[in-house]
């Protein structure tokens, strides 16, 4: 495996960010996860390969710490890394409107990918928060498959929009000295 020293330094920190920020947000009791910030950040700073690596390691580690039920959702992390890279190359983090637009697109795509995994492998019951939404939608009369798809897409759109906003705000606030070290990050914010 040919990994640069910078990536060796960034990847563990980014995986830790995914896990720790996810926990911080859960403690705040907000209806988002923000557990892909590290994946997005490394994908934007170093390219798709770094993002894929962070996404995979994050799922392995969160699986180890919380149950390997999360592992089948690894392709969702890969998709987010891919879309974050595409957004960065197209200057998708220039301002709030573009971040929101890319975040919603990414959320929709992630929701469409995670819904079948959630339904076919887990019957819609994955995390307690998601399971509660699915159950509520079923109680309102939706079939399990529709409830799972609706809950997945809604939660992912909100979550990824918030994640793109956070990462965009951070990238725009970075001093030029640091942005200069990461060419794609500078493109992402249009500098």
């Amino acid at each position: 495996m040919n990994v640069s020293p910078r990536l060796f330094a960034l990847v563990p920190a980014a995986v830790a960010i995914n896990l720790v920020v996810g926990r911080v947000v859960a403690e705040l009791g907000l209806p988002v996860y923000l557990d892909t910030l590290g994946t997005m950040l490394v994908a934007i700073l170093t390219g798709l390969g770094g993002g894929l690596l962070v996404g995979t390691l994050s799922q392995i580690l969160s699986g180890l710490l919380g149950g390997f039920t999360y592992f089948p959702f690894t392709p969702v992390q890969w998709l987010i890394a891919l879309l974050a890279t595409v957004a960065a190359r197209r200057g998708g983090f220039r301002g709030v409107p573009s971040s929101v637009g890319w975040g919603m697109t990414c959320g929709l795509a992630a929701g469409l990918l995670s819904a079948p995994i959630s339904y076919f492998l887990f019957g819609g019951i994955t995390t307690p928060g998601m399971a509660a939404v699915v159950t509520l939608l079923q109680a309102l009369g939706l079939a399990n498959v529709t409830a799972t798809a609706t809950a997945s897409i809604l939660s992912d759109v909100v979550d990824k929009t918030a994640a793109f906003l956070v990462v965009g705000t951070l990238l725009r606030a970075l001093p030029k000295r640091i942005l200069g070290r990461f060419a794609m990050a500078a493109t992402a914010v249009g500098k």
Binding site: V3, F8, A9, P12, I17, P31, L65, I125
Partner: protein, 244 residues
């Protein structure tokens, strides 16, 4: 944490946990999955990992309840009378038991493995086995970073709260706390990357060639038997499911 699992070779608990998870997914539900959940609990308790069983129970209990409501009460298909009145879906109840046991076994096995995992013993074992050093280093460095960032997040939260940050109240108030709690962590990961990279390079991290394990964990006959036995069991179960 003082049981057999922590004293064994670092690859052995991983092999057993992955084997249990694989068997839980392979064996027919609900009897197979229930049996595997029971076996997972027995093995964890025998290895002195009762806390992982308890934590697993706490993690999976809300999911059981929601499974019961979502599948048993609101599920479709033929229905049977519930003891307290009303009806329950037969297929939903079967799915609830099967999936509940599956989730219980997987979560308990994962938590037990996490409780026994020692990153530095794992690195020594991986080096002794001539694993690619980059892979082994990334796993260990990630564990170290997770612990470091978790501690940093805890201190940050206390510091920001003492400066007046509100983490309770409406969604808007709690959402406003995100930048104060999250941005410093994200910034630290970026700004420290080059310093870490330089340190890693000067220590020869990216140099090619094998590394010498200073204190490799002992790989006993029992360890090897357990690992190969687990693999054989998984292969046998998979074959049985395919050919029966």
């Amino acid at each position: 944490m003082n049981g057999a699992a922590t004293k064994s070779h670092p690859f052995t608990p991983g092999a057993v946990a992955l084997g249990l998870i694989a068997l839980t997914l392979i064996l027919p539900a609900p009897r197979g999955t229930l049996a595997m959940y029971a076996l997972t609990i027995v093995i964890a308790l025998a290895c002195g990992l009762g806390r992982s069983v308890w934590l697993g129970l706490l993690a999976v209990a809300p999911l059981w309840l929601l499974l019961f409501i979502s599948q048993g009460m609101l599920g479709e298909g033929p229905r049977v009378a519930a003891p307290w009145g009303g009806t329950l879906s037969v297929a939903g109840l079967q799915w609830t038991v099967a999936q509940g046991a599956r989730l219980g076994a997987i979560i308990t096995a994962s938590l037990a493995l996490a409780a026994t995992f020692n990153a530095h013993r794992f690195l020594q074992a991986a080096m002794a086995r001539r694993w690619p050093f980059g892979v082994a280093f990334l796993i260990v460095a990630t564990f170290d970073a997770a612990a470091r960032f978790a501690e940093q997040a805890r201190r940050l939260r206390e510091a920001q709260r003492s400066r007046g940050l509100r983490v309770r109240g409406s969604i808007a108030i709690r959402a406003r706390a995100i930048p104060a709690l999250v941005f410093p962590l994200l910034l630290a990961s970026i700004t420290e990357a080059d310093d870490h990279a330089l340190a890693l390079e000067t220590r020869g991290l990216t140099l090619p060639g094998p590394r010498t394990a200073i204190d490799p964990p002992r790989d006993t006959l029992l360890d090897r038997t357990v690992r190969w036995g687990t693999l054989a069991l998984v292969l046998f179960a998979a074959g049985w499911r395919v050919w029966r």
